[in-house]
Structure formats: C-alpha cells, structure tokens
C-alpha cells in the first residue's frame, strides 16, 4: 500500500513504485517485437534494458506507458493496470522518449514551462525537484532548444520529464548519440535522482553502461536473454577469454583461426586479438600459440587472460540462443 500525497512546497518522502511485467507479447504484423517477457522491478531500483536496435526496448516502454497495448500479458505499475488505469499511471510517470521530445523552436524555459503546465504545475513550484539538472542548463534558459548541444538537450529533456515529480521515470535511450562525457554526467545525475527514491527504467544500446545500473536485462530481438546484476552477469560468463598480440596484427586472426577445437572464437580487438576457449589453461594455450605462430612473422607474442565485459556475455548469450 502506498499513500501518495502531493503537497506543494513540502518535499514529501517520495513513495516510489514497482513495475510488474507478466508474460507480455507484442506483434507488429509479422514481427514479434516482444516474446513472453516477465520481469519484476522493485521500488527504487535503477534498472537497465541493454540491447541493440530492434531488441524491443522502446516497445516495452511504450507498453508500460500505455502508448501501446499488449497482445498478451499484463503490466502493473504500483499495482495499477497499464491498460485500464493508464490515466493514473501517466500522472505518476515521467517519460523521456527516444527522440528528445523537445520543441526546438521554443526556449529552454518555455519547454519546461510547457511540460510543467500540462501536468498542472509550474517551474517555480517544482524548481527544487529538478534543481540538480536544471542548474546546469539554466544559464542558457533564453536559448532555443534547437541550438543546444546534445548533452544539454538531454538534460533539458530530463528536466521536462522530472518537472511533475514522477515516481517512475522511464528513459528511452537517453544517452544515444551523446558523447562519453555528457553520458557520464547523465549517469551521475540518474544516481542522484535514484537517491530521492524514484524508480528508474533506462534503456541503452551501450553495453558499457550496464555496470552503472542496479540490475539489467540483456535484450535481443524481443527476448530477455538475462536479468541480473551486472557483476553476476559477468561472473556467469562461461569459458575463458584471452588476449593475444604480436608484431603482425594483420595476419594474426587468420593464423590463429581453426588451429584447435578448444579455441572457439578469434576476434581482432584493436591492438590485440581476443580468443575464447574452453578446457584449456594458460600454459597449454601458450604452447599451442607458440607452435602455430611463425616466429619470423610474429615477434613479441604476448598472451594474457582477459576479463570478460558485458558485451562478451551478450555475445555468448546470443550464441547460446542461436
């Protein structure tokens, strides 16, 4: 049971909300956008949906905000059904769609005021809620949104999504196309937001952002491949990962491919090649490599164990599912 009282001027303890997704299926004509998705997100969690375009992230968010209706299954936000109680859900949800949903011909201030007004509040009334974010763009409040840099647009869009004191914040690819510094700052902001007790769902195609979430779902073509904390996902990586380098990086991939059945994948990774193996230890692998790589061509051969990243796990999971 949650008691929600919104009293202007008084910062009440934010009662955040849970999201329950049960057996959701959604088809667009022949395309299965989501296949039997079941997921439970407790109040106050920062939850990440990680996956490439076409994974179903946006569709899932649109189902939660009731912009779309599911073919099968149900979604409950704070116990409210997304289909029948969508009006109540919309009142407590802040949604930032994939494209920033700003009016580029309106100024920063006008954008915020507009979004505040459609939720029957105002910038003045709720300034304290978005202070953290808004302060960074306030010096440009007379500038048109279209003239802002990517990072500033992103912060403005976040301000607009936060202005009505939502208890659930849904951010669809907020960091796509934004540079690494702005992305970093954005994630720092999200962490601060989370401390106020708000539940945050965020999607991203950048695998390296997974580690910033409490828990993540790895999504691919409408399936949830894994749901867990980032560290557990990495710990669950099956097999071993090595990095090898030599003086002739152009030839090394071809020279290492297909030399032993226990060596599964050889992939060039910048200055190194990554090799995945099973049932083979450092020493044995070293011997095999020494034997295969021609000493005249490959000098300074280096072999080290590599720590798998979320992307490696993602790839392994994709392989498993075929």
């Amino acid at each position: 049971m949650n008691f929600r009282t919104v009293r202007p001027g008084i910062t009440a303890i934010n009662m955040s909300v849970s999201v329950q997704i049960k057996n959701i299926n959604k088809k667009f004509e022949k395309l299965e956008a989501l296949r039997d998705i079941t997921l439970s997100i407790p109040p106050g969690e920062l939850f990440g949906f990680i996956g490439p375009d076409g994974a179903g992230k946006t569709t899932l968010f649109r189902l939660i905000t009731s912009l779309l209706l599911a073919d099968k299954g149900s979604i409950a936000v704070d116990g409210l059904d997304s289909e029948t109680d969508y009006k109540k859900i919309r009142n407590i949800t802040g949604y930032m769609p994939g494209r920033f949903s700003l009016y580029y011909d309106l100024t920063v201030e006008e954008n915020i005021n507009f979004y505040a007004s459609i939720f029957k509040t105002s910038l003045r009334e709720n300034y304290h809620l978005i202070k953290e974010v808004y302060e960074q763009i306030e010096p440009f409040k007379k500038r048109r949104a279209g003239d802002l840099s990517g990072g500033m647009k992103q912060k403005l869009a976040l301000s607009c999504a936060l202005i009505h004191k939502p208890e659930l914040l849904i951010l669809d690819e907020p960091t796509t196309g934004v540079d690494a510094v702005s992305r970093k700052e954005f994630w720092e902001l999200l962490k601060k937001m989370q401390k106020t007790g708000i539940t945050i769902l965020v999607s991203t195609p950048y695998m390296d952002e997974a580690s910033l979430c409490d828990r993540v779902a790895l999504m691919q073509k409408g399936d949830l491949m894994a749901v867990d904390t980032p560290s557990s996902i990495v710990d669950g990586y099956n097999g071993d990962l090595w990095q090898i380098s030599s003086s002739d990086m152009h030839a090394i991939v071809a020279d290492l491919t297909g030399i032993d059945s226990r060596i599964e994948k050889v992939f060039r990774f910048g200055e190194k090649v990554h090799v995945t193996t099973h049932n083979i230890d450092n020493k044995e692998l070293g011997v095999i490599i020494e034997g295969v790589l021609d000493g005249a061509k490959h000098k300074n051969i280096l072999l080290e164990g590599a720590k798998p990243q979320i992307e490696d796990c993602f790839l392994a999971l994709m392989d498993e599912k075929g």
Binding site: P52, V253, R268, G270
Partner: protein
Amino acid sequence: MKDDDHIIVVENLVKKFGSFVANDNLNFFVRRGEIFGFLGANGAGKTTAIKILSGLSKPSSGKASVAGFDVGRQSEKVKRNIGYMSQRFSLYDDMTVKENFRFYGGIYGLSAKGIKQKTAHLLQKLDMLDYKDMLLSKIPLGWKQKLAFSVAVMHDPAVVFLDEPTGGVDPITRRQFWELIYEKASEGTTIFVTTHYMDEAEYCERVSIMSEGRIEALDTPSNLKKKYNVNTMDEVFVRIARSDA
C-alpha cells in the same frame, strides 16, 4: 609530402567561423592502412575537421592533404580518392541492393562491367548474393550497415571516413562489421572512424581525442590507458574531455 606512408597529413590546420575557432591548430598524420579513431565530445570540432579532410570545406589557414592531394586546392581529386559512410547517410531504402551498388559505382565513374564484378565480389564476401534484388527497406539494420560499408569502399578509395558507423547494431553485427574494417585495412585502405562507443575506440590502432577544437591526445589505446593510469578508453576520454570543462 614528408613520408609516402602518411596518407593524411594535417599541418597547423585552423578553421574559424567568425570569431568561433572550430579547429585550433591541428597537427597529425595517419598512416596508410591504419585504423584511426577520431574521438571527441559533441561540438569538439570533429565534424568540422572531417568536412575539411573530405574536401567539403576549406581550412581558414594551415593545410591538409589526403592521398597526396591538397584538400583546399584539389578538393575534387580528394573526393575521388575517399569513401564516406555514416549512420545517417547511407543507402536508398526504395532501391534494391544491386541498384544501390550500381548507383554509387556510377557516381565514382566505375564502368558497368566494373560495377558488376565489384558488386558480385563484395556481396559474395558478405554472403549476401541471394539478396541482391531485395529492396533495402526489407533488409535488417546490421546488414544494411555492412552493405553501406561495402558501397563506400567499392571504388577502392585510399581513405574511408566512417562517421558513427555502428550506431544501434547488435554486438555480433558490430564485430562482423569490424572484421570487414580490419580486412579492408589489411589491403591497405586507411580507415578514419568516429564513434561514441568508447569500447569501440579500443578497436582502433591509434586514436586522437579532441576537445574544444584542439587535439588533446593522440596515441595507441594501450599507451593512453597507461599514461592516464586507467583501465578503459572511457576513463581516458572523460579525463581529457573534462579537464578543461
């Protein structure tokens, strides 16, 4: 030209828009066959620099040469010797795979026969010969990007500029895409790539990081990580781009 091996040479390059300095005295070179990552925050001046290097915009002062041609005075020759691919600008959705190849081949003055051979060869490499008569709109994003890359290198350019080539594709496709890049690079084509994926920066042989119009760092990813004593390119990037913010 100082070194025949240097396919891109940039010396004291400055580009100003009014009082705004977009490129502030850039100096660097890129070797033939190198995979060069060109990184920077939004608005750091990357796009301006790429426009100059691809002959679309003239430098305010200083000079740059690509494939031995001056970008200011010989921009037409520069354009003939480069390929370009970006996530936004790629192929025509309402044309078939073959028609796209034919169109771009025609732009670069390839003969009809040359186009046919190239198309067959490139599609074979992608294992997509069966799809040559399919409309681009019916083809999944990841494949499209591989096709777009093949089209961009169809005329065997000396340098290919890739502007955020892998945005939005799944990791497997991205790796396959990079395999194409490595293969092309080993044939001697220079790859000049921008990306927001910092882990992708590790795929490059050398990277430069721009901030506020200047190149703040240029080295191999491992040297940069060593220099800043961090584990990932992401941290390197944030250190550099934030230091003066």
